[in-house]
């Protein structure tokens, strides 16, 4: 646990100080101000850049037209650099002519790309079949790999995945296996199939060779994402915190270093025991998280989990607050958590029912009293109860056995 606290330290400062040593244009998402889309998009490359931009466009709310159009414009530019005509069509239909002629449907470009794709596909197929007849393992592997890359660029993710998997039979060295797994992980993340991600990360881990630290860091990021999607926040936090800071921007076809920090920090807040959070910081911390919320909702991976994480963080804060005290004045606590006394009472009631706090509320004087269960009487009660249950169960059993025996005898006597 100590290690986590140490690495949590700088992360905590990231959140509560709202600044840190790095300059603001490299960390667009962790401030409460509206998102700087250009800076945000600059952190990523490849397909994820486009997907993230589209996500922002879809979720930034109807009122924020400028942000939406900005995102779509950048998406358009990015898509044109690639070979995915289907994605291009999607972007164009979303833009819907709002950005002028320059950002309209370019059918000529589409046709050209499609033709090129057909040609390339034909060529790859020929090459592959010739390799197959020649039975050169390495070439067949490269051939399938190329096919995978091709399908990925076109946006046919399922086909890409299948082809990457096929290379497995032709892998001869550990390096090949790692390469295959990394590709499979990339495609699985894009497809949103995080169970595959976990299994391929495990596959690489089983490899006896020591990994290049960058590769290892990438794997941890991927596995952290997988845990996040499966709502296993504690595991996700662990993985993200283990990521070597040398990773830098080398994995930005999936995730940016800021994301690692954000995801890791949030998950850690929600799931680890925080002994460092002092009373005075609760209000400001929760306030800060509140302001971050709008921007975090625009992140493609966090979107579904922001509410749950925030809820858990708040609950943890409430529990930690009450832990060291025998009695707590509810009005002061309500101020600390920026809520009304009756609202606080309801929250505490829910926590007591779930057995997360051992206390009772004095509603008359508005005080929370800690209550420690009397072990001795609880034990006595339990013993008596068990005795009675045993009594009842054994007698019932004997009766049932008796009935069965009677039936059996009755059957036995029949000829």
């Amino acid at each position: 646990m100590e290690r986590d606290d140490e690495s949590n330290g700088p992360m905590m400062e990231l959140c509560t100080n709202g600044g840190g040593e790095e300059t603001s244009n490299r960390r667009p998402i962790i401030t409460g101000e509206p998102l700087d889309i250009e800076a945000y998009a600059a952190m990523y490359k490849g397909r994820t850049k486009i997907m993230r931009l589209l996500f922002i466009a879809n979720h930034c709310g109807g009122g924020n037209q400028t942000m939406q159009l900005e995102a779509l414009r950048m998406a358009y530019d990015e898509v044109k650099k690639g070979e995915n005509t289907q994605l291009f069509r999607d972007v164009v239909s979303k833009i819907n002519g709002r950005l002028g002629d320059k950002y309209g449907m370019d059918s000529a470009w589409c046709e050209m790309i499609d033709r090129r794709a057909e040609q390339r596909k034909g060529k790859l197929e020929n090459e592959l079949s010739s390799y197959r007849t020649n039975l050169i393992k390495e070439s067949i592997r490269m051939g399938h790999n190329d096919f995978g890359d091709f399908y990925y660029a076109c946006g046919l993710l399922n086909e890409a995945f299948k082809n990457y998997i096929k290379t497995r039979d032709y892998c001869t060295t550990a390096k090949h296996i790692i390469h295959m797994c990394m590709n499979a992980i990339l495609v699985s993340i894009e497809m949103g199939q995080f169970s595959h991600v976990s299994s391929y990360v495990n596959k690489v881990d089983q490899n006896p060779e020591t990994l290049d630290p960058i590769v290892a860091a990438k794997l941890r990021c991927a596995s952290g994402l997988a845990h996040l999607e499966l709502k296993k926040y504690k595991l996700a936090a662990r993985k993200f915190l283990d990521v070597n800071p040398e990773l830098g921007s080398s994995y930005n076809e999936v995730i940016a270093p800021q994301d690692v920090a954000t995801y890791g920090g949030l998950c850690a807040l929600a799931s680890f025991d925080r002994s460092e959070l002092k009373a005075s910081r609760y209000a400001s911390c929760l306030e800060y998280l509140g302001s971050l919320r709008a921007n975090l909702l625009l992140d493609i991976h966090l979107h579904d989990h922001v509410d749950t994480l925030y809820d858990q963080i708040r609950k943890k804060a409430l529990i930690q607050y009450t832990l060291p005290f025998v009695s707590v004045d509810l009005s002061r606590m309500a101020d600390a958590f920026k809520t009304s006394v009756s609202g606080l009472e309801k929250e505490l009631e829910a926590l007591i029912t779930d057995d997360q706090i051992q206390a009772r509320i004095d509603s008359h004087n508005k005080i929370l009293y800690a209550r420690h269960a009397d072990q001795r009487s609880a034990t006595f009660q339990k013993v008596l109860q068990m005795g009675n249950e045993f009594d009842r169960d054994v007698r019932s059993m004997m009766l049932r056995a008796n009935l069965l025996k009677h039936e059996y005898h009755a059957k036995g006597r029949k000829p």
């Binding site: 004095d362 009594d391 054994v394 019932s396 004997m398 069965l404 009677h406």
Partner: protein
């Protein structure tokens, strides 16, 4: 000498010792047919005999006399006989005694005077019982009369024996069902639950109407007693029960599910919707008790979370009409011992206290001691049962047959070859 006179003299002569009694029994058995057709046999003939000394003979004659239609005079005579007869002599002809008592019970019911039959049947059960552990055919009849006469306490005295051995499943089902109803009448829900549980989980191959009715009451009593409803039957219930009971008891299961959700208004809506079904089964009163218990359950939950609470808040949280009603209910619960609390009328506040039981008194030690003794006794019973089963020839025969299927090697070499069929 006519048959009747001959029989009377033999009865008077041979009722002294046990050896004579066997001889008498044979005589009586032989004379039954001729006695039936003999018109000389009247009620007055019985005056020559003393029911307590000549019980066996009296029994046979009474049996013949009551063969046809039975008048009220005969009923009273039977009642007197049952009270006065000698248990040892009766047990020699227990089936006759049992059938006599059943006829008695039917007649009493026809006369719509169940109270008349309660005391005699109670006595009858005690006399026919070979051991307090064994169920007799008369137990359910006795309980039925107690129910109809509303003599719950009398019925309860019969129930306080631990029944461990059973001959007839049907008697057992009726016993448990009537017994459960008596306990419900006395508001002893724990014991009622035990009895109904036994019926519901009894082994059966086809759905039994008694078990079905018992299951309906079982659901309602679980709600009242422990406040939890689980839609699946206990694991030990027979597969027939598990698959068929639910289809026949849908309104009850709905009540159970709404209870689990904890919302009073929804529960009441369901009750009103199905009230005709409940009335048909005579369960409407029980259902109303279940609804009342939900209020209690909710108030109980509040004691876990709050130290003090205003009456108005209680009323709001438990969905009662006003603070006055909340006060009444809390007061009732304090009196019943279900919660420990103090009501401050001036502030309109209730202060919840911890259970004052310290488990330090000598009464508590006695209770614990008795529980321990019971447990030891039960374990001994279990071991005895296991031993007797392992000597049972039918069981050994089956094990011997299956021996080829399960090759356990060393374990079953002790089973002699002759049992491998």
């Amino acid at each position: 000498m006519s048959t009747v006179e001959a029989v009377i003299t033999s009865i008077q002569g041979l009722s002294a010792s046990s050896g004579d009694l066997y001889a008498l029994h044979d005589v009586l058995k032989g004379a039954v047919d001729s006695l039936r057709t003999d018109s000389e046999l009247q009620l007055s003939t019985l005056d020559q005999l003393d029911p307590s000394k000549h019980s066996l003979g009296y029994l046979y004659l009474l049996d013949v006399l009551t063969y046809g239609p039975v008048s009220k005079e005969k009923v009273l005579l039977i009642a007197r006989f049952i009270n006065a007869c000698d248990a040892v002599q009766i047990r020699l002809a227990s089936e006759k005694f049992v059938s006599l008592c059943k006829r008695f019970k039917d007649k009493v019911l026809e006369l719509r005077d169940p109270l008349l039959g309660v005391a005699p049947l109670l006595a009858a059960v005690r006399k026919v019982q070979v051991s307090t552990k064994r169920l007799t055919a008369l137990h359910p009849d006795c309980l039925q009369l107690c129910l109809l006469a509303k003599c719950y306490k009398a019925g309860f005295s019969v129930l306080s024996d631990d029944i461990l051995e059973v001959d007839q499943p049907r008697e057992f089902y009726l016993y448990c069902y009537y017994g459960g109803m008596i306990c419900i009448g006395l508001k002893r829900f724990q014991k009622a639950l035990e009895l109904l549980y036994n019926v519901v989980t009894a082994p059966m191959h086809i759905v039994n109407a008694i078990a079905l009715e018992a299951y309906k009451k079982y659901i309602l009593v679980t709600l009242i007693h422990s406040g939890q409803f689980s839609i699946s039957l206990p694991k030990c219930a027979s597969t027939t029960a598990k698959s068929s009971f639910k289809t026949w008891c849908t309104p009850y299961i709905e009540v159970g599910m709404r209870y689990n959700d904890g919302k009073i208004s929804e529960l009441e809506a369901v009750v009103v919707a199905n009230s005709s079904d409940f009335e048909k089964d005579n369960n409407l009163g029980l259902v109303k008790q279940a609804v009342a218990s939900l209020y209690k359950r909710n108030i109980l939950r509040l004691t876990q979370k709050y130290l003090t609470l205003s009456l108005q808040d209680i009323a709001n949280m438990v969905q009662l009409a006003n603070a006055k009603e909340a006060e009444m209910r809390v007061l009732q619960m304090i009196q019943d011992g279900q919660i420990h609390a103090l009501i401050n009328q001036k502030d309109g506040m209730v202060r919840f206290l911890e259970d004052p039981e310290q488990y330090k008194t000598s009464e508590m030690i006695e209770i614990m001691d008795s529980v321990i003794q019971r447990t030891i006794g039960l374990s001994k019973n279990l071991i005895a049962m296991d031993e007797s089963l392992s000597c049972d020839p039918l069981y050994l025969g089956k094990v011997g047959r299956e021996r080829q299927r399960y090759d356990f090697g060393e374990d079953f070499d002790t089973v002699p070859q002759k049992f491998s069929m």
